[in-house]
Symmetry: C2
Subunit: 350 residues, 2 copies
C-alpha cells in the first residue's frame, strides 16, 4: 500500500500535520510546517469569511519561498472547518474559485451525519476531487459513521488527551488508534469497499517519542496542536504562549469543560463536546459555585488586562492545551519543531 | 544501563506484567504469566488474610511446573497491595516469614505519602531488600512524591485509560509516560541520586501494538489488566468475562466513576480515585437520578441472578475494564497472551 506521503508529494516520512487551531493556525504557521516537509493546516474554523484571504496570503508566502516537490494541482496546505458552525455554501464557493485548491480539507464536529456527508461531497465536487478529505473522529462509532457517509481519505483519530474541543467520551490514542483502525478496515472489507484510507493520530503527542508511539500503534502520521502553540509563527498572545510553556503534568493541570465556551460566549458546540484547557481561576470559580455573571465579569476584566490575564496565580483567560502541555518547554520555529518530531534534530531532555 | 529483565532473570524482553487485579489475579494466572517469561502479580488488595495461602499455592504450582531461570533468592512473582486498605503490619509479617519473598511488591493508592514511605521501608526490611518496590503513579506529581519518599525500583505509570481504580485526574500514556520519565530522571539527577529506576506503563494496552508504543515512549515494559480478564486462568465470573469480550469502543462504553464502589459497598478509596468500568444500567440509573436505595436493590437482585447480571441489555453488575476493552476479543491461555503481546504469536486482525 502506498505511503501517505505519496499523496502529499512535498512531505517527508513520518508525516507531521499542524492541526487547524481556530484563530491560531494562520498562513505563516501553515507555510512553515509544509516547508519543513509536514502539512500545515489553515484554520477556517466556524467563520469562513477570511478563508480566501488566508489562502491568498499562503500563496504569497509560497511564491516568496517555494516548497520543493509541490505539484501544480494543489496548494501544499490544508484547510480545517468546524462543520456545525461553518457555512458550507460559502466554503464551497471559495474553494471552487481556486485553480489550485488545498491538498487537504479537514472536517470536524458535524451536527449530524447528513451534514458531514454534504460537506464531503460538496468539497469533492468544488475541488474536482483534488482536495483529500480528512475527517476527525474521536471514537470508533464516529469513525464507522464517517466511513459510511463520507468515505474519508484520511481519518484523524483524536484521542482524549487532545487540547481544545473534542468529545467528552473518548479514549487515549493507546487504545483508540488500534481499535479504530481494525474496525474501519474490517468494516470496509466486509462491505466490499476497496478504498485504502489513511489514519492520522492526534492528541497528546508533543515530541519524537509520541510520533514513534502512534506509528507503532498503526497510524500513518501525527497531527499536533499544543506543540505548535509554542511555534514562533503561531498567532497567539504572549500571555497564552507563556502559560503553555509553564504548565506541567497535563493530566492534573488541564480539563475538558464548557466553562470557557460559556465565558467567551462561544455558543453552538454540540453538547457532547468540550474544550480541554489549562485549569485556572475561571474554572475553579465555576466549579466552586461563583455565580456565572460574577465569573464572566472577572473574565472580561482579565481579557482587558491583556497578557496579565494569563499571569500565574491570577490567570483567568482561556488556555486551550492538551495533556502533553508539560512536554512543551520552549518556543521554536515551526520548521524546527517538525524536524524534532521526525527525529532529525536531537533534543536534550534532562 | 541494565535492562529491566536483568532484575527478573526468568523474564524475556519486552517485559510483560500481569496487573494485580483484586479478586481476579490469583496463583494460576500469576504462574502462567511468569512461566511465559512475564511477571505475574498476585492481588493481595486490601485484605491480606489470604496472602500466605496464595503464596503457598503459587509455590505449589512452581514445584509442579518449574520456571527456568528462576533464582533461589526470590519467587518469580509479584504481590500487589492497595495501601489505604491493606494492613501493613500483617503484610510485613507474612512476607518476613518467607525464605523466598516475591520478586516484586506493587504498592498502590496510599492515603498519604507517609503511608507510602512506611510500606516501602517496611517491605524492604521484611524481605532483606530482595523484593523490588514497584509504585503505581498516575500523574507527574505522584511520581515526584514517590521518588522522594520511597525511591521506587519501578514506577508503574498508570494512564487514564486503565480499567479499575485510578485517579480521576490523569492523562493517557501517550503524554504521561514521556513527561513523567523526563521529570523523575531530572529530579533524581538534580538531587544527586544515582539510582536508575525503571518505568512500566499501564492503561489502554491490549496487544503488541500497545506494547511497542509504550516502548517507543520510553517505558521499560508494560503492565496489563483488562487483557488478562480474558485469560483462562483469571478468577472471573463467566458473565463478567463475556461482557468484556462483547464491549467495544471503550472511550464511549466505559467510564471512571464511584457508582460501582457505592453499589458494592466498597468504602475507603481516596476521594480522587474512581473505578473505570463498562457503562450499564447501574450507571445509567445513577446519573439519571434513580434513588440510591432503589438502584442498590436492583444491583443486589442482579448479583443474586449470577451471570445474568451481566446480560447485554439488562446488565447491572460491576464490569471493571479499561478503554482497550474493544481490543479484547477472545479468551486465551495467559501464556499465549503474553507471547502475543511480545509479538511471538501473530494475531489475525481483520
Amino acid at each position: 500500500m502506498a505511503s501517505i506521503t505519496a499523496s502529499y508529494p512535498w512531505t517527508t516520512t513520518p508525516l507531521i500535520a499542524g492541526a487547524p487551531m481556530r484563530l491560531i493556525s494562520g498562513p505563516s504557521l501553515a507555510h512553515a510546517i509544509s516547508a519543513a516537509g509536514g502539512i500545515g493546516f489553515l484554520a477556517a474554523g466556524t467563520d469562513v469569511s477570511t478563508l480566501s484571504e488566508n489562502l491568498s496570503a499562503f500563496k504569497s508566502l509560497l511564491s516568496a519561498s517555494p516548497i520543493p516537490g509541490t505539484s501544480s494541482d494543489v496548494l501544499p496546505v490544508g484547510v480545517g472547518f468546524i462543520l456545525w458552525g461553518a457555512d458550507l455554501k460559502l466554503s464551497v464557493q471559495a474553494l471552487s474559485e481556486l485553480q489550485e485548491p488545498p491538498a487537504a480539507v479537514w472536517l470536524f464536529a458535524p451536527s449530524s451525519s447528513e451534514e458531514l456527508a454534504s460537506w464531503a461531497s460538496g468539497i469533492r465536487s468544488a475541488t474536482k476531487n483534488k482536495s483529500k478529505i480528512w475527517v476527525q473522529v474521536s471514537c470508533v462509532a464516529d469513525a464507522i459513521e464517517a466511513a459510511t457517509v463520507a468515505e474519508p481519505d484520511v481519518f484523524v483519530i483524536q484521542g482524549a488527551d487532545a487540547g481544545g474541543h473534542g468529545r467528552y467520551s473518548s479514549a487515549g490514542l493507546i487504545s483508540l488508534v488500534p481499535e479504530l483502525i481494525d474496525t474501519v478496515l474490517s468494516y470496509n472489507a466486509n462491505r466490499g469497499n476497496a478504498s485504502s484510507p489513511k489514519f492520522i493520530a492526534a492528541g497528546g503527542i508533543a515530541d519524537e517519542r509520541g510520533v514513534n508511539a502512534i506509528l507503532a500503534l498503526g497510524a500513518d502520521g501525527a497531527a499536533l496542536g499544543t506543540r505548535f502553540l509554542a511555534a514562533e509563527e503561531a498567532v497567539i498572545r504572549k500571555g497564552y504562549q507563556d502559560a503553555v510553556l509553564k504548565a506541567i503534568d497535563g493530566g492534573n493541570s488541564t480539563i475538558r469543560t464548557d466553562v470557557y465556551d460559556k465565558l467567551r460566549g462561544t455558543t453552538g458546540w454540540p453538547k457532547d463536546y468540550g474544550g480541554r484547557g489549562v485549569i485556572n481561576l475561571s474554572y475553579a470559580d465555576a466549579v466552586s459555585g461563583v455565580p456565572f455573571e460574577e465569573n464572566e465579569k472577572l473574565y472580561k476584566l482579565a481579557e482587558e488586562s491583556g497578557d496579565q490575564g494569563w499571569e500565574a496565580g491570577s490567570a483567568r483567560m482561556t488556555t486551550y492545551a492538551g495533556t502533553a502541555v508539560g512536554l512543551v518547554k520552549k518556543v521554536a520555529k515551526a520548521g524546527d519543531i517538525v524536524k524534532e518530531l521526525r527525529g532529525e534534530i536531537t533534543v536534550k531532555r534532562i
